[in-house]
Each structure stands twice: as C-alpha cells, then as structure tokens.
C-alpha cells in the first residue's frame, strides 16, 4: 500500500466529515460530536504519517495530483494536491498537536453547554488548516485560508455572550482580512502574469523555473521586479495571519477564546500558516535575490518585519499580567523569529522552529489552560501563585515548555531551532540588525518566561481560586506529558551535528558531523550566555523576592513606571490605530453621510416636490376633462362583457363540444387544404 498525492485529499476530508457529522448531530449528543472529531483526527494523523513516510522516500520531488475544477473561458481552472516533505511534516504536526488538543478539550470544555458546536468548529478548523497544507494551488490554498479565518472567527467568538470575546473575534477577522486583501491581489496579479495558480505542474507551475524566470524578468516602475511585488503582496497575507508587525494587534485579543483554541489556533497551527505560506512560495520570494539591479528584495522586507516583530513582541510580553497574554505576545515574538529566518534565507530553519514552537507553545498554552481550569478561570498571574505543590504534573510540563521557549541549552528543542535561526541571521550578508534584534529577544524571552513561571507557580496562593486549585484529570494531563516529550525530543532532529530535518525538507544530502557543531560555537556560546542573563535577571527580580500579595507592585514598575505602563498598554498600537485608521474611517463615513443627506437628499426632495405639483395639476385635468368619457367607455365594456359571460356556462361538456367541433373544422381544413 503506497500513499501518493492522489490520496492526500483524504487528510483534510476526514475532519471535514466529522465537522459535518457534528453539525448534524443532536445538540445533546456529546459523545458523537467529540468522538467523531477525535477519531477523524486520529485517522488523519495515521494518514499523515503514511504521507510523511512516502514523502521521505523521495524528498527532493514534488508529487502532485491536479484536476480541473471548472472551465473559465477556454482554459480550465485547475486545483491540485501537493505532497512534499514540507506538506508532510506540517500535516503530521498539525494532526498530532490537534489530536492532543482535541483530547485536552474533552476535559477543558466538559461543562460547556455548547460542547458539540465546539468540536464541530474545531474539526472544521482542522479540515481547513490541513487543506491549506495539502493545496497545490494558490487558489485552493486561499479558499482554505479563508475557511481557516472563518473557523478562527467562530472559535475566538465561541463565548459570544461575552462582549469582549465577540469584539475580539471581529477584530481578528477584520485585521486578518486586511492582509488577505493583499494576498488576493497578489493571487490575481500572479494569475494575470502567468495564467496559472498551480504551484507545481510538471514544469508549468508558478514555482517552477519557466514561470519564475518570466516573473523575475519583468520590471515595474521604480525598478521593482514583478516577482518582488507579487511576493510582497502574498507576504501581506502572511503578515495578517501570522500576527506580524503592524497587524499583530489581533493576536493577543484572540485569547478571549477558550484556551484549547488559543493553543491550537494561536500557537501551533493557524498563525503558522503565514510562515508556511512564505515557505511554500519561497522560490517566488527568492528569485529576486539574484537580481542586483532590484532596489528592494522581498526577503529583505520579510527579514526586517520579522526582526521588528520578534523584538516588539518580546518587549510587550514583559509588561503583561494575564497568563495567556504573556504567551500570546511570546507567540508574536516567536513568529517574528520564523519570519526572520525566512527573510535571511533559511526557510528550513524557519520550519524547524515552527515545528518545535508548535509543540512547546501548545504545551505552554495547554498548561496555562490547565492552570486556568483548576483556578476557576482566574488568568491574572498576580492573583495566582503557589500552584507548584498542588499541580505537580502541570508545573513540570510547563517548566519544560518554558525552558524550551527560553532556549535553555542542549536538552530542549527551542534551543536548537533558535540556534539555527541565529546562525542563519549571522550568515546573512545584507545586514546584521536582524541578528542583534534576535539576540535581544533571546534575553527578553528568557526574562519574561522566568517571570511568568515565578509568579504563577511559586510563592503563596494570592486568591481564593488559587488556594483551592488542584490537579486536573488524566484527559488533560496526558496530552501535556506527550507534548512535553515532543518539546524535548524534537530538537534533536535538527541539531547542527545531525541536521536531518533540514536536509529532508530541502531534499539535500545529509551531512552529519560534530564538526558543524563546533563551527558556530562562538555564536552559540553568546546566545547561551544571553539566555543565562535573561534567566538570571528574571530570577533576581522575581524569584528572589517572591510576591506575597496581589496588590504588591511589580519590581519593574517600581523602577520604570512609564515604560511598564506603556508595555502593559501594548505600546499603544490599538490606540494608534483607533486614532488614525479609525478616525479616518469615521471621517469618511461622516462625509458620505453629509453628501447623502444634503446633496443627494436635496435633489430627491426637489424632484418629489416637482412630482407633487404636477400631480395636483394632473388630477384637476383628469377629473374634469377625461373622466366623463372613460365612464361611458367602461360602461359599454361592462355591458358587452356580461353578454360574453353568457357563453361561459360552467359546463365542461359544452367546452368539450366546442373543442371537438373546432377540431373537426381543423381536420377538414387540413385535409381539404392538402397540408402535408
């Protein structure tokens, strides 16, 4: 039994079927909805593993299964599925993490009234996400991409009775739409330029040499290559979906959704879609790098956006007090890292970090979910504390996640993937600014994670909720343990000494030697040192003197109140947008209303007055002049009508007879007239 690209459609279809089943199932039938979702996900996971195994046998090839969807004029619109290591690795990750999160949700959402809908939405989301991964057409990818957006809207606004959740859902939806508009424009432009949207199509696809050369060959005004422009437009979509600066504002607000949603969508999968998209169209982004004449390269923009995001997210995370928001900004920062890696030319490092990040960030979110569930939905870290003895498994796994995220050396996966990115940034010859931003973010990451763990788990319980917290059931802890194992083990797939993952992804030969490990040891030592600085700083500020009451002021707030206030306010991005974009929007709306009321309305009113006047004149004429004549005519019509009505006897026989006689006459005419 071999698994080929022809079977790939099964992977997203199974969760879709589960979603359909869940939608049809009666509301009270919890077992059916959850069971079908989990079973479908498990089967998808097995299929994804098969796909991975078959993709690894020939890592350098892109197996495709294309089919015509409909005819557009003379040319058929074609869609397809693509099986290569990138797709396969992502599918395995999404299905595995998704499966664990589904199982975790069983416990977390147990008491929710809309349990069934939740699993239905989750399945829909998984289906759409897997659809993004297996698509071999930018159009199919875009369709699934929008479905992902829809599912995320539904899930963020799952507790829609909370106004903040509804607002957050709308915000996420609208903000990502801005990016998607760019993606759609890029898609249209690409179709216009190449006449195809298939990625790989036996030499005809847009990511293959013929089309790429044609794209890079054309220049627009300002010396911009066509491929650069299209690449940047597509990158807009990634900015929106992956929460990159300046569209990162929706991601922290999206934490209003249930915590498994945050783990699934806003840590492991959906936000990674942007990174995946850039990695998928990498040949397109990359092609202009060779052109010296081009003033700005698409990947340079990607690198700087990523660097800014990484630093910004890490800074803001230091000033947050909500356990999930800290993790959310951390996600923003880590996605910045991935973009940075893409920008500096190492997409394999980006995907490596994506995979490890998916595991440890899902772990952290689920751990946070476990804490929140145990502490009766208390999310403020100032009100938590002292959970370590009460929730041993959660603490242990959360600590593993924290160390993986901080990049504690050697044992944890985050270290290796982050190292790979920093090395790639170091090797980038355009600028070293992204490297410095990345190094700064390393310190900050270690710092805020130390703060988070210290505040949440150590010290004294600072509220009744934290006082009565206790460990959750196995349904919730087992996924944590499995994810923790992944967070540790996954790093060893891509160490510099044995870069198996990178080699498999890019389809190159695998060179393994300890020599590579030594090569970049200087940078590695530096980053280890920086991690140490971050951890030490965190320990010095928070671990040394543990917070005792909820009201006690944060040590940083004491030293730099303005900075911390600004950070807590997320550097005022929301206010900035409200003051600029929102104000502009409001102004245009007012203007439009004014035009509508005074200019158009005035015209309409004038016409109406005119109509009323002419109507009055008309009526006078009518009543006096015309009516008399019409009365007579209608009287005569009525009279003749009454006479004709006599013929309508109501007797069917009479009608039949008339018809028969008419038929005879017709037959006579035809026969005598000699009609042929």
């Amino acid at each position: 039994m071999t698994f080929t690209a022809n079977h790939l459609w099964l992977i997203p279809t199974l969760p879709l079927l589960a979603a359909g089943l869940g939608a049809l199932a009666p509301s009270k039938d919890r077992r059916l909805a959850a069971g079908s979702a989990i079973v479908a996900m498990a089967i998808s996971f097995v299929l994804a593993c098969l796909a991975l195994q078959s993709a690894l046998q020939a890592p350098a090839t892109h197996a495709v299964a294309n089919f015509a969807w409909f005819d557009l004029g003379a040319s058929p619109m074609r869609l397809g599925f693509l099986l290569d290591p990138l797709t396969a690795f992502m599918c395995v990750m999404v299905t595995f993490v998704g499966l664990l999160i589904f199982i975790f949700s069983l416990g977390y959402m147990q008491a929710d009234a809309n349990f069934k809908q939740f699993f239905c939405f989750l399945s829909l989301f998984a289906a759409a996400m897997l659809g993004v991964l297996v698509a071999n057409s930018l159009l199919l990818l875009f369709i699934c991409w929008e479905l992902v957006g829809l599912a995320s809207y539904l899930l963020i606004g799952f507790w829609f009775h909370k106004p903040s959740a509804a607002a957050a859902a709308k915000k996420a939806f609208i903000t990502t739409r801005i990016g998607d508009l760019g993606l759609l424009l890029g898609l249209l432009w690409l179709y216009d330029a190449t006449g195809s949207l298939l990625f790989y199509d036996g030499g005809q696809g847009v990511l293959e040499n013929t089309a790429l050369a044609a794209l890079a060959g054309q220049t627009l005004g300002g010396g911009l290559a066509l491929s650069t422009a299209i690449g940047l437009l597509i990158f807009c979509g990634a900015i929106g979906k992956s929460g990159q600066f300046p569209l990162h504002v929706w991601l922290p607000d999206a934490m209003e959704g249930p915590t498994p949603v945050s783990a699934l969508i806003h840590a492991a999968t959906m936000v990674a879609a942007g990174v995946f998209l850039v990695a998928r169209v990498y040949p397109l982004m990359q092609i202009d790098a060779a052109l010296a004449a081009v003033p700005v390269h698409a990947l340079t923009v990607v690198a700087f956006i990523g660097a800014i995001t990484a630093l910004l997210g890490a800074f803001i995370a230091c000033g947050q007090n909500d356990i999930k928001r800290v993790l959310a900004f951390s996600t923003v920062s880590q996605l910045g890292y991935m973009m940075l890696a893409l920008g500096v030319g190492s997409w394999t490092a980006a995907i490596f970090h994506l995979l490890t990040h998916a595991f440890f960030k899902a772990l952290l979110f689920l751990g946070a979910g476990s804490v929140i569930h145990a502490a009766h939905h208390e999310q403020d870290i100032r009100l938590l504390g002292g959970l370590r003895p009460k929730m041993k498994i959660t603490f242990a796994t959360f600590a593993i996640g924290m160390m993986a995220l901080s990049g504690v050396p050697f044992l944890f996966s985050g270290f290796w993937s982050k190292e790979a990115i920093l090395h790639a940034a170091h090797a980038w010859d355009v600028s070293h600014l992204p490297l410095y931003a990345g190094l700064a973010a390393v310190v900050l990451t270690a710092f805020y994670m130390t703060r988070l763990v210290a505040e949440t788990f150590l010290g004294q319980p600072r509220s009744a909720a934290a006082e009565h917290a206790h460990e959750n059931s196995a349904v919730m802890t087992i996924p944590l343990i499995l994810l923790a194992l992944g967070a540790i083990g996954l790093g060893f797939l891509g160490t510099p000494a044995w870069p198996w993952l990178q080699a498999r992804l890019s389809g190159t030969e695998l060179h393994s030697s300890l020599h590579h490990l030594m090569e970049g040891s200087g940078l590695m030592l530096l980053s280890i040192g920086l991690v140490g600085v971050g951890l030490g700083l965190g320990w010095w500020l928070y671990g040394r003197r543990l917070r005792t009451t909820a009201e006690a002021r944060d040590p940083l707030v004491v030293t730099a109140p303005q900075v911390m206030a600004a950070l807590a306010n997320r550097l005022g991005f929301d206010e900035l947008y409200a003051a600029t974009v929102g104000r502009l929007n409001h102004f245009t709306a007012t203007l439009a209303q004014g035009i509508d009321r005074w200019v158009l309305g005035g015209l309409v009113n004038f016409l109406a007055q005119l109509g009323v006047f002419s109507g009055t004149v008309n009526r006078q004429l009518d009543e006096d002049g015309l009516n008399g004549g019409f009365d007579q005519i209608s009287a005569s019509v009525r009279g003749s009508g009454q006479r004709y009505a006599q013929a309508q006897t109501g007797e069917a026989h009479g009608y039949l007879r008339v018809m028969a006689v008419a038929f005879i006459v017709l037959a006579l005419v035809l026969v005598l007239g000699g009609a042929r």
Binding site: T649, A652, H653, L656, A660
Partner: protein, 103 residues
Amino acid sequence: MTPLHLCLLISSGLFCIGLTGALARSNTILVLLGIELMLNAANLNFIAFWRFGPAPSPANGMIFVLFAIAVAAAEAAVGLALIIAVYRHQKNIRLQEANTLRG
C-alpha cells in the same frame, strides 16, 4: 393498405370512441377515462410511426410514449383526486352539475 394505414385507422377509431364517450357520458370519471383513451390513441400513433415510419429513429417514438404515459399517470391521479374532492363537495360526480364557475 399498409400496416401503417391499419394502425392509423385503429388509432383514429380509438380516438373517436374516446371523444364520443367524453362528450356523451355525464359521469366525470368516465369523461376522464374517455380522455385517457384519446391519449392512448395518440400514443398508438407514435408507436405506429416509430415502427412503420419511413426513417425509423432508434428510440424517439418510444420515448415519446413513455413520457406520455408518465404524464397520463400524473393526470389521472390529479384528476381522480379532484373528482373525489368535488364529490365530497356536492355529493355527486355529474359533470353538468359542476357548473359553479359559470359567468
């Protein structure tokens, strides 16, 4: 006298019988059945021309007949349901007494 002539004679006979019945009988059911007979006569023509026509097409006449039969079935069902409804209303089914629609 070819077979086609014979067929056409038979079918016109059937048609006339149906017509006469529909005109003569006062029972609505029988009027309806007379109409069914006329339909059958038309079907006979289709088959006759299909079989004995100058250039027989593979299935056209037959398909006409099949459609006609299906429509006749629908017509009979609705017609008889109407008759039952009328019967409920005026307690008999004489066609000449169902004349409330007269002008």
